[in-house]
Symmetry: C2
Amino acid sequence: MSHIINFSAGPSILPKVVFEEASQAVLNLNGTGLSILEVSHRSAYFEPILHEAMALVRELLGLPDDYEVMFLSGGASTQFFMSVMNLLPEGKKAAYVDTGVWSSKAIHEAKMIASIDVIASSKDKNYSYIPKGFDISPDFEYLHTTSNNTIYGTQYQSWPDSPIPMVCDMSSDIFSKPIEPHRFGMIYAGAQKNLGPAGVTLVIVRKDMLGKINKTLPTMLRYETHIQNESMYNTPPVFPIYVSMLTLRWLKNLGGLGAMQQMNERKARHVYDVIDSIPFYVGHSVPEDRSRMNVTFNLEDAALNKEFQTYCEEAGCDGLKGHKSVGGFRASIYNAMPEDGVKILAEVMKEFALKHA
Amino acid sequence: MSHIINFSAGPSILPKVVFEEASQAVLNLNGTGLSILEVSHRSAYFEPILHEAMALVRELLGLPDDYEVMFLSGGASTQFFMSVMNLLPEGKKAAYVDTGVWSSKAIHEAKMIASIDVIASSKDKNYSYIPKGFDISPDFEYLHTTSNNTIYGTQYQSWPDSPIPMVCDMSSDIFSKPIEPHRFGMIYAGAQKNLGPAGVTLVIVRKDMLGKINKTLPTMLRYETHIQNESMYNTPPVFPIYVSMLTLRWLKNLGGLGAMQQMNERKARHVYDVIDSIPFYVGHSVPEDRSRMNVTFNLEDAALNKEFQTYCEEAGCDGLKGHKSVGGFRASIYNAMPEDGVKILAEVMKEFALKHA
């Protein structure tokens, strides 16, 4: 097969047109004669790109004016502690929900520097569901959640009715469906799933969340630094921001987050239908919390794992190996995965099950 | 002019062959059928790239085995405080040399979290020289220096005989000439001048500098985290690392740092010769400390600034406007600037002076 369908969990597939435009810009950015890799960030070549990217984030997510948009570096892993340093005043506590490895890392980093409580967890069943119906005390400063759990294939399909703002790691499902911004005091997301290539992190903070900290932080660790300097306090990751802007343009042209959500629902159904109709495959997540981004499943007979993987690869389906915490397989079907790609995987799964019936 | 010569201070020019290879890899990485922007960092597509980049850093700089090489994000600005947090034990002091805006920022960040002394400065003459002959007490833990000062066009041509290890910000001249690794306990450099595009930071630490800190740091702020995980604790900036690897390959094929130094000396001479022979131009740096990377100069008659800039731009010379701290002009002539580009600038300068003689 010369054409590979990339089901990788991240960094992951981006739209073909984005690859084409980005490739051209590496040679010659918009006919300027300069490569996007060599232009100054403080130039008329780059500043409009940054501003367009920020405006598209606002428009697509429907952010009110009291939200600030930043493009930072260091990944979501850096936001695990930066969020706490910037948002949690001394003497106050934050609440966390534990829905997997990434939540746990956020919890670990927060505990190192502040006082937090884990108020709900799905660890008891290897994170195969999203906890529900837990109490959220209004005494907490905020509630930290992880919207989609790539490793386990779970995703919040509705949000808890929280009396406090949520701080949410949306790394693996941001821009996959509309959000309700008013629920969130802060949103952060590594780019490398639905937004762009690895190397940039989107951070969104509501203004009223800031200004509560007395401690002096290093300049680069303060959100105010990046807000006041429009993400240009230091040299930003120019190319990752450029490619993110191209991806956001593609998303807008496609009809925005409502249209994207419909496509993602339809795509996910192709694979979940196979899992639900053929007992040969066993889904990891409980049906009501299934992720539309990452479909996780095991073969009933794990002895066939290797053969299944090879079978998929021969059909061009790449990157399906599951994470070691869950085993089996994971099909990551982010925004840029075409419906035809998912259909091919569903067919391959059916054929393979039939072969071993 | 369709061909632009990019004299920008950073992000800045990279080799043409690197642009071509990078552009191709955005469409199809080494014939894999996948874009470099979509491959998993934990894959056979990327890991050899990361390892080759690390090996080339070692080989080109001649680093002994007791130096660790990391590719991080957050820019040199993040290293301003990360270096202090990781290297300066409680109760110990570090010494700093102030040679300009970037040194001053490093000093500012260090002072916020630790005890340091500025033991030498060239602020008295608007940073137009490199301080020399100052005493360095062996009681300091390390000496922080900035090897090349982009804004002022100064550069250490020889190092102080320091009884303590140097921690050096080499952002704007790393890989431009051979270094003597034994002088340095740590070296750091934002990529966006001689190494690659914006979005990755090279950090080199000698092992004996580590392990002296008792304080618990957030995981992402500990050098040990990134060393133990070979810069893959979190998703690294894949594309900026890939392009850096291509640039290092180009540098090796060219003959390495010795050959590069000869070329850089020759290139710089073309412009400094014009400055020295035509009083119409006034260099900012004292001659003995002149940078081979950034040539800074003013016109004797500042009223001609605008006309000079337009004249240069019409000849294809872009990015020459000086930094506001020095005014006038700055020609950044990093590794990838071809000698022909510098010759054109020198000619343009001569012509313009003649026109106004």
